[in-house]
Symmetry: C4
Subunit: 289 residues, 4 copies
């Protein structure tokens, strides 16, 4: 949730160029700000595409040089943007330590580090976190309500989901140990952690098949585990659906409550069939429509 909150950073100055640039970079309600957002989205998507293409061996050998140049162009642009964000806010440190500030930094740092430290190639994958920056812009669109309701329902279900995951892990530990004993290393179950990995893959109905039971007893136990998983796969769905249905119902209930305010005490949100204010007992006006 914290991640989705824009730092409510004040502009550095009330007027002047810094104020103007603050409005362009941090706000989204003027035409230049909107253009800035669109350009930023395009740059993020393009730079993520560059990272992905560069990881494909064929493209790397053919266009490696061009992709390398493009990566530095994007890193340069994002560095300029990072500096601009620092300059125009009143408290640059607070921005730098906010979750968005850290993501912004992680988007550019690995490219510089990979030059300085030769063996840090694998660090380059960290740049992919750039994609998270899209959400900073996305959250300002019309989709924020939808996302908010989905995340809100997940958030309210968090304790139930935690209990559920504990149960799943416990079953994975126990069945992992059983399968380690029953099937043993010769069929791929070569340690309890490996067996737990298999149990999670099986219960969640993923079923890679890289490890699979071979003995009749192992297959029987696997079937039992699958049926257990099948019976409790319903649980997170049930939790979430019930929670979301409640959210939707309450949203619709709120809109069904009528809009009459009590002329005496001003209380709103009366039941549609109420004739008297439930707080002061005053007669309510008749409903319209």
């Amino acid at each position: 949730m914290r991640l989705l909150l824009d730092p409510q950073l004040n502009p550095a100055t009330e007027t002047g160029w810094r104020r103007r640039w603050f409005d362009i970079i941090y706000r989204h309600d003027s035409p230049p700000a909107r253009n800035f957002d669109l350009a930023l989205i395009a740059a993020i998507v393009a730079s993520v595409a560059v990272i992905m293409l560069d990881s494909v061996p064929e493209y790397h050998s053919k266009y490696g040089r061009e992709l390398y140049v493009l990566e530095w162009v994007f890193t340069g642009l994002f560095t300029l943007e990072y500096i601009a964000r620092m300059v125009v806010v009143r408290r640059p440190v607070r921005y730098g330590l906010s979750s968005w500030g850290i993501i912004d930094l992680l988007s550019i740092l690995p490219t510089y580090v990979s030059v300085l430290v030769p063996g840090a190639q694998s660090l380059l994958a960290v740049r992919i976190l750039r994609i998270l920056r899209l959400f900073r812009i996305l959250k300002l669109t019309q989709y924020v309500d939808e996302g908010g309701m989905l995340i809100g329902s997940l958030w309210r279900s968090r304790r139930k989901i935690f209990v559920f995951l504990s149960a799943v892990l416990t079953v994975a530990v126990i069945f992992g140990a059983i399968m380690y004993v029953v099937e043993g290393p010769e069929h791929g179950f070569n340690s309890i952690p490996t067996s737990m990995y298999w149990a999670i893959v099986t219960m969640a109905t993923v079923g890679f098949g890289d490890i699979a039971p071979v003995t009749p007893l192992g297959r029987f136990i696997a079937s039992v585990l699958i049926l257990i998983g099948y019976s409790i796969i319903a649980v997170p769905t049930g939790i979430y659906t019930a929670e979301l249905a409640t959210s939707l119902r309450e949203a619709s209930h709120t809109s069904k409550r009528d809009s009459r305010g009590c002329p005496e005490c001003g209380l709103e949100g009366h039941d549609p069939d109420a004739r008297h204010c439930r707080q002061c007992g005053n007669k309510l006006p008749a409903r319209m429509g």
Copy 2:
């Protein structure tokens, strides 16, 4: 949705043979029109079966000649039908550019093109789009209400599903990059796009097993990804179920309560079979419709 709407094309002439054929081809409420529909369904199903059988090597080598002839027979029939549809409507161009008109054309064009352009064999698979033409007829049956409710609920959930798919794709990008670094090309994760494909296959609990983690760390990260996928697989189900339940409830609520108000005390929401107000006992007005 557009796809499911029949073009409300006017007949070419108010009377005469074109009008008669318009009624047979575009309408569905007379015995000849019904027979035309049934013949069309049979021809579509049979021609799709011919395409499918022709793709099986054994049948192609044994009955290739017969299937080739049959294909031309069906193409001829559909061409005649296409011309007839063109002729009997007042605005043939508007039909030709409608979504149904384009599907009709794509059903016959590849067969002709494959003769003219020698290397266009793979175009033949386009003919399989013929199967969509079934829905033109299917939508006139009793199943249109059911389909409409299912699609309507999907449509109302579209923004929530878009948000959800964005989240899934972001998780796939991040975990794809992680697994590319952790497992590397020697275990099949030979590029970030390939790793993303693996991440989507894993999160959606498909789990082909063509690529699977081998290192302990990779397996641990895969387990985490599976548990994340397991927790959010509930989301689309929850969205859709809650939306559909609302549809069903509203449908049943609307049809079960009528709109008569008591002329004496004004109470509304009586049962459809009520003759007297349940609050004051006054006689209710007769129901309409």
Copy 3:
């Protein structure tokens, strides 16, 4: 549903031994009838176990002779039971042609046929249908309500599920043809029916992995198919859950309607807050509890 209905066969005679045996075989409310049911359950379970064990190569080679004898014992018992069922009802032909009568016959016929026709070994698997006979007895227990509600909800959802399956099949046909063109026979997609099998296995998130896309384009299309399948996997769950929730709510609503009957016209099922009968307007008695 038909399958679950016991043929309401009249006893052959009103009194005498046939009547007594009818009560034992077809009814379930006296101690001897209950013992007959229990013995029948034991025999069915044991004979199914014999069939299953006989199919395991090790057991077949070790205990093949004993299992063969046991099979004939059970076939003899079930033949006696079949004859008894024929004899004690008034219309044996009607029993023989009912769904239960056919299942009873299929449970014993293959054993005899396998002796007369030497090559009919594979027919023996038909005997496994014996297991369905368990439901005849199971349906008389306390679980009949639960089963009835589950099947009832499925039955009411049948048209929505039919629409859903049509959509799944259409998507399978189209993606099957696409993958046949994109991946081709060299990667296992050797015909459109095979590709359709792959598409169904993928959309339903089973993912055997016996066939899996290898080319980048094929993997991209597979990811799209998975995300489509992921979005619509919610549909049957949504349909069924909404339907079942309605059943449960109605069941609970029915039980919440109060039990006051109108003293004037006898109508029952009033709303809990009703003061007057909704049919005749007579004042209702005050509610208790």
Copy 4:
């Protein structure tokens, strides 16, 4: 359910050191009791980690000796704890035979037995049951309500789930026999139990792929089985969701409506913050609790 209930064991003496230790070991509401709980959680987690690490070949060969010593340390601690639990309660036998007492004993016994009986190495996996002991402490936290609601809904759905599992098993038996005949031992379906294992793996959408149909007919039957499984996978989710939604609705309904009746007109079901009847405007009595 029984497993989650702490034996309500009385302390051995009303005062003295045994009473003091009873409060520390069996109760959780004083600072020393809380410290004891935390230490126990740490010891359980650490000892389970030791068992898991010891099963990994690399760690076993490198640190086998250290892990062996650690295991004996934990076994010693848990033995001391077990004796302490025995000593401080008034009825040690009742504790020893309770489900928690048996789990406590199974946590330490295998280590001793493995010394006395040389071939009992596989017994060591039983020690993993220690992880269940975490729930004894976990259940005293804030998560007990969440867990209780989840288990309660599962418990109320148990008969529907039993019916569902019976149907799944019956379908697995029938399709297992069919696939055994159709595919046969040469494609991995080498007995009916093996085919049933495949059918369960397939219906539950796990799909390991260790066994997969090869013949066209087998693939067609597999597709049918998948679509059946796809249609009924909704059933447990539907059951559980509907049940949980009912629980949540009742919980929220109960807590949101209060039981005050209007002294004037008797209307019930007022909002909790209502001070006046919404029908007649009369002052409501003050709420209790």
